[in-house]
Symmetry: C2
Subunit: 433 residues, 2 copies
């Protein structure tokens, strides 16, 4: 019988995160202080982040030790198996072998807890009592509320309005774990009130929610802000996915031909591919890494590679990244996690250097892909993850034509049990084809 799951034991879980910075041919271009235009100093960041995370953000060390307390918590959902999509291969009649890491079995249903837990841990160590954040689809807001609950911190979430209205269950989840969530733009910040005054019907953006979360944190005692993607330390934490995958590929003595993931801010895709990029850079490997974004928010495929603000109001440092402009307002589509105007600077650099590729897909097509996947494998993918699946299906179809037995590996970043309203629209013909 074909082996469907390649397991790792708890003691085989990676004990270090991987930092790609020292392995890149060029040093990353630094974040800039938006007021001076000079490279941001650690002190510039201390108003919103704890020192230990700023050190990780600026680190040049190749490996960062995962604290014992974080490992203990990771063990609740990690290491997760590498799964082979045998039934999908059969349905597609492809000679390709399709594998995936499934992050939907974490407590909150996505990869986001891989970073929310260490972020809360370091904040707790540094004395933070309240963490604020933004959330698009709600995955990150849930993950931060869950982690704050573990370390007994307060949690305040600004959730992009379009998602807040589509998914009341996210609010319940955040509340269950003791967090507080408001629709963004909100009346709880100056910036939110101003936006509502100017454009009362705006569906919200991640950029606006970030601005609100930062403003809120800066006005509260012992409060810090937390970001669920984009920044170096978030991508660092997510490398646990790719590091596990590397071990699992060794067990089955295989090298991936394709590594595929969806991209909003870039953390799940970077977490998947970064441990493999050094081999791509050194030309030791022919792996094609493909980041997949929404056609409604195509920062990598249609954005510019330049310095831009991480939020709507210029409160964050300026970051060198692929961007659609920090004022870009994407339509209220269903993959709320893929609506960020920019792309993680480290991932943008990897893309700009040609070490990975980017593609964009349309909403209806990704739901069609997700539907086929759910019929084959049972798992209901989150709308974000459906983007990765669409790109996987494209490669599997190509292999069918060429007869090549390629190995396709993708990251199924989360489940879609909270997104069934969107599947219902897809099924009943209410989604634009």
């Amino acid at each position: 019988m074909v082996q469907i799951k390649i397991n790792l034991d708890e003691n085989e879980m990676p004990k270090y995160w991987y930092n790609i910075v020292p392995d890149l041919p060029d040093p990353p271009e630094p974040p800039l202080n938006p007021f001076t235009g000079e490279p941001a100093k650690a002190e510039d960041l201390e108003t919103i982040f704890p020192k230990s995370l700023i050190m990780q953000e600026m680190s040049n060390e190749r490996y960062a030790k995962i604290p014992k307390e974080v490992l203990e918590i990771y063990k609740m959902w990690r290491p997760n198996p590498l799964r082979r999509a045998v039934r999908l291969e059969k349905i597609l009649k492809t000679p390709a072998q399709i594998y995936y890491k499934y992050e939907g079995e974490s407590p909150t249903g996505s990869h986001k807890v891989n970073s929310s837990v260490p972020q809360c841990y370091y904040n707790m160590k540094d004395g933070t009592e309240l963490l604020t954040t933004e959330t698009g689809a709600g995955q990150w807001g849930c993950a931060l509320a869950y982690a704050c609950n573990l370390f007994e911190m307060d949690c305040k979430v600004f959730m992009v309005r379009s998602s807040f209205e589509q998914k009341p269950q996210r609010k319940t989840l955040i509340n269950l774990w003791g967090g507080n969530v408001v629709s963004s733009p909100s009346m709880e910040t100056e910036y939110g009130r101003e936006i509502i005054k100017q454009t009362p019907d705006i569906p919200g953006t991640l950029g606006i929610a970030i601005t609100e979360a930062i403003e809120y944190a800066m006005k509260q005692p012992n409060a810090k802000y937390s970001l669920g993607s984009v920044l170096n330390h978030v991508l660092l934490h997510q490398t646990i996915i790719g590091l596990e995958l590397k071990k699992q590929m060794e067990i089955i003595d295989t090298t991936p031909d394709y590594l595929i993931g969806c991209c909003g801010g870039g953390s799940n895709f970077a977490g998947l591919i970064f441990p493999f990029v050094k081999d791509i850079i050194d030309k030791k490997s022919d792996i094609q890494a493909i980041g997949v974004e929404s056609s409604t928010c195509p920062s990598m495929t249609k954005g510019e590679y330049r310095y831009d603000s991480g939020d709507a109001a210029g409160k964050t440092p300026d970051l060198k990244m692929y961007t659609l402009g920090c004022q870009f307002v994407p339509p209220a589509q269903h993959a709320g996690g893929l609506r960020y105007h920019g792309m993680a600077p480290l991932l943008s650099q990897v893309l700009n250097s040609g070490f990975c590729k980017a593609e964009s897909y349309r909403e209806y097509d990704v739901f069609k892909a997700g539907h086929l996947f759910s019929k084959a494998e049972g798992i209901i993918p989150a709308p974000e993850s459906c983007h990765a699946i669409a790109a996987v299906l494209k490669r599997a179809e190509e292999c069918k034509k060429t007869g090549e037995k390629k190995t396709i590996v993708f990251n199924l970043s989360g489940h879609g049990f909270i997104d069934l309203y969107a599947y219902e629209k897809y099924l009943t013909g209410k989604m634009v084809t």
Copy 2:
């Protein structure tokens, strides 16, 4: 570090289901033909079940080989780890060790696929083209739709009205996997039309939905009916849970003091405990097995042990079981899976013989237990599973008082991502305390 997950490899997955019948001190009392009052013959059942499942239903063999095709599919979510609830133990400050099997990682989010897959497999082999069924919470309906999809059969689900209205997402899930679902009582059967005429506001019952599903199947070509609990062959399939658990307890060289599961029709609890009952019967073990039901539908704690019909209209054979009467209409509470008027005959016999116990809990108390669990372990339990957790907490508290380091093992039968509306009611004080 404490080991949190005790894994089994794919090749360690049990290859046989366990049939408790030959190990019971007395032979089970037979199902009776409701028209003649005589023990039902295999032929009596052939109008609604395929022959291969009837053979399993009536079997006296201790082990039943799991077909290779079913094993292949089981591997998508099995074997699942035995998990230790370390954080819960800490929060409770109990010396008890709490372990659980988590069935919520299956494609449909509950243990139900353990039986829907083999049921569909045997039906497919016997030429069935359409399967009909009832569903309470929607877990079984989803599981059957998923399995019918795998074996390319049509699926028609009669869903108890109160759940149908509470959980529109269940409809979407069933539709995604190609099934068709209607609210029960429905206008699609004579019995449904009659009930609607008599009591238009009835919240529905599993007994009515079963009657409708059977009537519907009997009027279609190549159609059979499928039941998600209660019957011997369903309990047989679910023993995969307890068989895995037994191997995992051997790995950590421990014997459970308590085995706990929630009970609607009894299949997840029986699946957990049956592989251990022989040792209880032979007094080789002091395990206390505790089945937990809803106080609104207390068949085991307040019902009578007698022959009764399995459905509302007397279309099924009469079964010897704990029952509240086949006309019993429980209130529309949130654990839709625990609203059946009776209890599985084999489990009823085990209970009546004193080899397990039964307890009932109130709705608010079980949500409180589930909430505490979700804060500790991250997983959001289905309302049904919260019942088991309430009984676990009770034992853990007792151990705290006595200082005993007992081992408590329970079955977390499913996740609650589709039940967040109920948690919202709990959180906002809209549930009766």
